[in-house]
């Protein structure tokens, strides 16, 4: 049979459904706009065990003491001791480093002779709330160190701290929520809407007729998800454009790579949506499963609002099986840090793995009959 013609008829039908249902239209286009604007409000961050890289030019007793003091709190964990300036950025690009502390060569001499020394803190500004918090903590720790060292004297502001926020110099919170919003919106539209639309066919009894037809199950699924894939993609572009023009969020890396990876994520979310639909008989069922099983964890546990590192271990594990977690990392990498694919291979790999896993499960669970 002429599959392309059948497929086209399917898509046409789906487009009629979408265009004739005002609620669907509202979710498709009203929600992304509303969410981008709502998430514009900053959210506070807490952290534990942030990874700190240290570039110690001094390498003397005083600098060692300072380092020990800073790491003694449990808020910071030494990730790497750097040897030269050019090693600094790779930690940020791979996402392993949260903060860099640079101790100048003359640190101890400046401090004891001139009563004045300078320390540089460099944070990853693509996550502004996190960067701000890290900076505040580091400052407090350094001041604590001073207090301990010079208990008797009361010399104020002995160490001048210079902070630079890489990738997001002004600490715009939009830099954080635009990637997060893209990840959430694409998830809602792709996963929730597809699971709803397939559940609707079951609820209305039309699935019964579709099954008693020569249509292969794969075509039924593809025909249902294809229009949503395209719409989700349009939404991703819409949010990027809004981010660029309203919140000045740049796309530093390759736009083509970014769009390509958006497509990969959309497919991940769609395969998840079809998987949900195979286990739900009604639209309400599908909606509950999407909201509780998908949307809530993706909002809370993906590192979008709260950093994963400060969560209890069990929540961190859950966070790591959520596609949005990886996609937000990918977006921050490509959009803000301007990295190429080689820095985000792991995240992309995880998404591809999830696609295969979800589709295999869907394939196994799709019922060629009613039971």
């Amino acid at each position: 049979m002429n599959m392309i013609k059948v497929f086209w008829a399917f898509i046409q039908k789906e487009v009629y459904h979408i265009l004739r249902d005002r609620r669907t239209l509202l979710i498709l286009f009203g929600m992304p706009i509303a969410q981008v604007l709502i998430f514009g409000f900053a959210v506070t961050n807490e952290f534990k065990n942030a990874n700190i890289d240290i570039l110690d030019h001094a390498k003397d007793q005083t600098s060692q003491k300072l380092i020990r003091h800073v790491t003694s709190s449990g808020h910071f964990k030494i990730n790497r001791m750097l040897l030269a300036e050019h090693e600094m950025e790779s930690g940020f690009k791979s996402g392993k480093t949260d903060l860099i502390m640079v101790i100048p060569a003359d640190f101890s001499k400046d401090l004891y002779t001139w009563d004045q020394a300078e320390i540089q803190l460099i944070a990853d500004g693509s996550d502004p709330n996190m960067a701000n918090a890290l900076e505040q903590y580091a400052k407090a720790m350094i001041n604590g160190f001073l207090f301990q060292e010079f208990k008797q004297s009361a010399k104020p502001y002995l160490i001048g701290i210079e902070t630079r926020m890489l990738y997001n110099p002004l600490l715009e919170s939009a830099y954080n929520f635009i990637p997060g919003t893209i990840a959430l919106i694409l998830l809602i539209i792709s996963a929730m809407m597809t699971s709803l639309t397939i559940a609707r066919e079951k609820e209305q009894g039309t699935m019964e007729i579709l099954l008693v037809s020569p249509l292969p199950p794969l075509l039924i699924i593809l025909g249902k998800v294809a229009p949503y894939a395209i719409l989700s993609f349009i939404d991703a572009v819409l949010i990027l454009i809004m981010g660029y023009f309203i919140f000045d969020v740049p796309v530093t890396g390759s736009v083509i790579l970014l769009l390509l990876l958006c497509m990969v994520y959309v497919i991940t979310a769609l395969s998840l949506g079809t998987l949900i639909s195979t286990t739900s008989e009604t639209q309400q069922d599908a909606m509950m499963k999407s909201l509780i099983g998908l949307l809530m964890p993706s909002t809370l546990l993906s590192g979008f609002i709260f950093p994963l590192t400060s969560m209890p271990e069990i929540l961190q594990y859950i966070g790591h099986i959520i596609p949005a977690t990886y996609f937000i990392e990918i977006l921050k990498g490509v959009m803000l840090r301007g990295v190429g694919i080689e820095y985000i291979l792991f995240e992309v790999g995880m998404l591809l793995f999830m696609i295969v896993a979800f589709l295999t499960l869907t394939w196994k669970k799709f019922k060629i009959r009613l039971e």
Partner: protein, 302 residues
Amino acid sequence: MPAIEVNNTSRTYGKVQALNSISLSVEYGELFGLIGPDGAGKSTLFRILTTLLLADTGTASVAGHDVVQSYRQIRKEVGYMPGRFSLYQDLTVEENLRFFATIFNTTIEENYNLIKDIYEQIEPFKKRPAGKLSGGMKQKLALSCALIHKPKVLFLDEPTTGVDAVSRQEFWDMLKNLKEKGIAILVSTPYMDEASLCDRIALIQSGKILQTDTPEEIVKSYPSPLYAIRSNNNYELLKVLRDKNYTKSALPFGEYLHLATHTSMGVDEIISTLNTGNYPDLEIKPIKPDIEDLFLELSREV
């Protein structure tokens, strides 16, 4: 080979026995009615035959294909109209028909002659969303969609439920035309009066087929003399009749009571046993049983 053949098919849902060793066969060009009340197992049988459900035991074939092994082939060759309206409510009449034509790899034009009589009646509303049609129109559209790919076997699960009397009559006329074209039609209905419009019928209750035959033969098999009785106080009369030892069964049928007796009795004989003073307008006449009488008689025995 018959169009539909069912052998000893059973199916349970949890503890409920939906079908209990059902057997029947339907020929091409035959209009076969499955008559029984709600919950008798009619829809379950339809779903097994349309390959949507698996039977627990027994075999069945449709258009020469086994319902389990060759389900793909069956899905190409049958038309199915589920018990509840199952078209896209937000698509127009024409869009629905075109969609179903396309997924069965055909076009409206190609098989228009088959649906012409039916579709012509709803064509004036072809731009209207299917959800806004009246009950009778919906069923005509659903029938058109089920027919558009020229099926060899047609399954219609309660097509006339919720449809007005005129549309019901029209619908059955259409079915008669379709069977003339060699299509095997299995139709279910809870309405006993529609049974006489079928070539053959099976009476089904609680998952069991009580009897299968032509409507005429089925009626002939009614075992007892039958009388229709009317009075101004049917309720009390019914109680009185049920206490008589000549009564086999007494059941209310609209404004009449149907009385079946163990032996043939004259009308006067029955009147003589009643206190006629209580029933000034008493009317008693021997009648021919209809399918409902037989159905009730059979289900009483079960």
